[in-house]
């Protein structure tokens, strides 16, 4: 078996986590129409939350995932309710600038609190792996991908089956109609932003099994989320997963064939190509 197969499989597993991260961005944009330029910064915040939980309570990252996701939900809900709901009708560049400002505040606050050094979690299974035939799968990667896929399945079920999920979809499709039908659109917007934040919180937990964290990482993850979401199609749930898998595999292959430090070059190239040729994304519909 050629050596690159392992890289493709590892890329797919990492890509599932990327997919969850980007799904958060997609939900926020798809419903609230806010472009969350602080997405990666929120993820870094979640990662530090996981590290603190392990430091204080000795919690395994997989256990703290729901806790962190709920904390991020509260943060996102409060942000939308208290601040962003006022910006719905303003010109869109004001939203971008507000979110960029929030991103800067988050990054510098984390720098002040946690310092510039990298931090990571410790797990008993960090170096274990499964051997499936000729394939070698890192345990951390398998756990991270399973957690991400489970989260996405839960989210899908929530949007399809629960009353709140359906109400959020109604607000996304037609805010005026939803308001006329008696829905409190502002509250569902806040819930949707909270859900997006919870997605990125959970994905941060899983990603922390694979990478180290430092305060400045936020911007690059924000960009990565945008790349994935735009490749897959802004607002499309399967698109986010597909985009995540594609970027994961492209990173794995470029690390194997070219150089690990060039891996994001291919992602940016992919983004530029998709933006120019098919701006609605692979699975998106033209607005």
């Amino acid at each position: 078996m050629p050596g690159w197969v392992n890289f493709v499989v590892a890329g797919l597993l990492t890509g599932a986590v990327y997919g969850l991260m980007a799904l958060g961005l997609s939900v926020i944009f798809g419903v609230v129409r806010v472009v969350n330029f602080a997405h990666g910064e929120m993820m870094v915040l979640a990662m530090y939350g996981v590290i603190l939980l392990q430091h204080w309570l000795g919690l395994d990252p997989l256990v703290s995932a729901p806790v962190v996701a709920m904390a991020l939900f509260a943060l996102g809900y409060a942000l939308q309710r208290g601040l962003l709901n006022r910006f719905i009708a303003r010109p869109e560049h004001q939203q971008f600038l507000l979110m960029l400002g929030i991103a800067g505040l988050l990054t510098s606050s984390m720098l002040m609190v946690f310092g510039p050094d990298t931090a990571s979690v410790e797990t008993s299974y960090a170096l274990d792996s499964y051997e499936v035939g000729p394939l070698i799968l890192d345990k951390v990667r398998v756990f991270a991908a399973s957690g991400a896929v489970l989260s996405m399945a839960l989210l899908w079920a929530f949007f399809r089956m629960s009353r709140t999920g359906k109400a959020i979809r109604a607000c996304a499709d037609n805010p005026t109609g939803a308001a006329v039908a008696g829905l409190d659109v502002g509250r569902f917007y806040a819930t949707a932003f909270g859900i997006g934040a919870a997605c990125v919180g959970a994905s941060g937990t899983f990603l922390l099994l694979l990478v180290d964290v430092q305060p400045y990482l936020g911007a690059s993850y924000t960009l990565l989320s945008f790349i994935i979401v735009i490749i897959g199609g802004l607002g499309s749930m399967p698109g986010a997963l597909l985009g995540g898998l594609l970027v994961g595999v492209s990173e794995g292959l470029s690390a194997y064939f070219v150089s690990p430090s060039l891996k994001s070059l291919f992602s940016y190239g992919l983004l530029i190509l998709v933006l120019l040729v098919r701006p609605q994304g692979l699975l998106g519909r033209r607005a």
């Binding site: 472009v35 601040l83 303003r90 869109e92 560049h93 004001q94 971008f96 600038l97 507000l98 960029l100 400002g101 929030i102 991103a103 800067g104 505040l105 988050l106 990054t107 510098s108 606050s109 720098l111 002040m112 310092g115 510039p116 305060p215 911007a219 960009l223 945008f226 790349i227 735009i230 150089s259 430090s261 060039l262 994001s264 070059l265 940016y268 190239g269 983004l271 530029i272 933006l275 120019l276 040729v277 701006p279």
Partner: protein, 324 residues
């Protein structure tokens, strides 16, 4: 421009011209940072403030200008200004290509902003692996001990760089004012306010937007080239960083996008507060205070005074609205 504005401008200009005579080295270095921020903000303002095209990747043009000037100087020992102009030409080309592609394929709004970031990041990684200009290890200009001031080779004291930046900033102020009073300025404002309506009136929006993007990119690169000879070292990861682009856009947003003096006022406020924060941060051992200020200033201005400080200040000081 109203009478009071003219007086205010003359006073400020005179003060800036005379400043190197009575300030110390430290204040001069801060003033250089201020003028650079003002100039870059003015350049960005042409594209976003006048023509309404949001670029979040202006670090690309600054970096192209800096690297072209520095690489030509290091490898071929060309005249400094030749490299600087070559850098501006290259940046104009890059901006033209990015603009033409985006406008041709109707990439607008958030997609356009993201495309500018993507091109900047793409270039950053390319330069990380571009060994001819030093890669991640950086590019260094040999510092010759020059007696006095050599404007031709752009070698000399910080005072010289101060005046070069002051001249650039005054020049682009004049250029912006001149453009806004001409046909193209009105076309830009029409495109910014309502592009379909502007197109319906027969304005060639593609070319008008392209002119704004190209001009803004080339002017930005000029400052990059000049600053390469002031800093004498270049690293892709700082020059092309997205955070550099955000720093460029913060001053004009704080001061007031689309106004002539907004970028300058914003740069003054941010630089003075930023320097104070850097000093406090060093004294108290807290890193990141300056970035915190930039983020906080963005949030505060968007929440409280989205039009910017300068229009509000005009109102308060009775300077009258900015007329052209």
């Amino acid at each position: 421009m109203s009478g009071r504005q003219g007086v205010a401008l003359a006073l400020t200009g005179g003060l800036l011209v005379a400043a190197p005579l009575f300030v110390g080295d430290y204040v001069l270095s801060v003033l250089i940072v201020f003028l650079l921020a003002a100039y870059l903000g003015q350049c960005w303002n042409i594209m976003m403030g006048f023509a309404g095209q949001l670029s979040l990747g202006h670090a690309l043009y600054y970096g192209l200008g800096a690297y072209t000037a520095a690489a030509l100087f290091v490898h071929f020992d060309t005249l400094s200004w030749f490299g600087i102009v070559a850098g501006a030409a290259l940046a104009a080309l890059a901006a033209g290509v990015i603009g033409a592609l985006s406008f041709q394929f109707a990439v607008t709004g958030v997609y356009f902003a993201l495309l500018t970031i993507a091109f900047d990041e793409f270039t950053r990684i390319l330069f990380d692996h571009f060994d001819w200009v030093g890669g991640t290890a950086g590019l260094f200009l040999h510092v010759a001990q020059v007696k006095g001031t050599d404007l031709l080779h752009l070698r000399g004291s910080p005072t010289m760089f101060y005046y070069v930046l002051l001249a650039l900033s005054a020049g682009v102020l004049w250029l912006s004012r001149a453009l806004l009073r001409r046909r193209i300025g009105f076309y830009w404002l029409a495109i910014r306010e309502d592009e379909p309506a502007a197109a319906a009136l027969g304005i060639d929006t593609f070319w008008m937007k392209l002119v704004a993007v190209t001009l803004s990119g080339a002017l930005t690169a000029l400052a990059g080239g000049v600053m390469a000879f002031y800093d004498n070292n270049l690293y892709p990861d700082t020059i092309f960083a997205t955070s550099s682009s955000v720093e460029i856009i913060t001053a004009p947003i704080i001061g007031g996008m689309g106004t002539l003096f907004g970028p300058i006022v914003g740069a003054f406020l941010l630089t003075t507060m930023g320097e104070a924060m850097t000093d406090f941060g060093a004294a108290w051992g807290v890193p990141g205070l300056k970035q915190w200020l930039y983020g906080g200033a963005l949030v505060a201005i968007v929440l409280l005074q989205p039009a910017g400080v300068w229009p509000w200040l005009c109102d308060r000081l009775g300077l009258g609205a900015e007329r052209r």
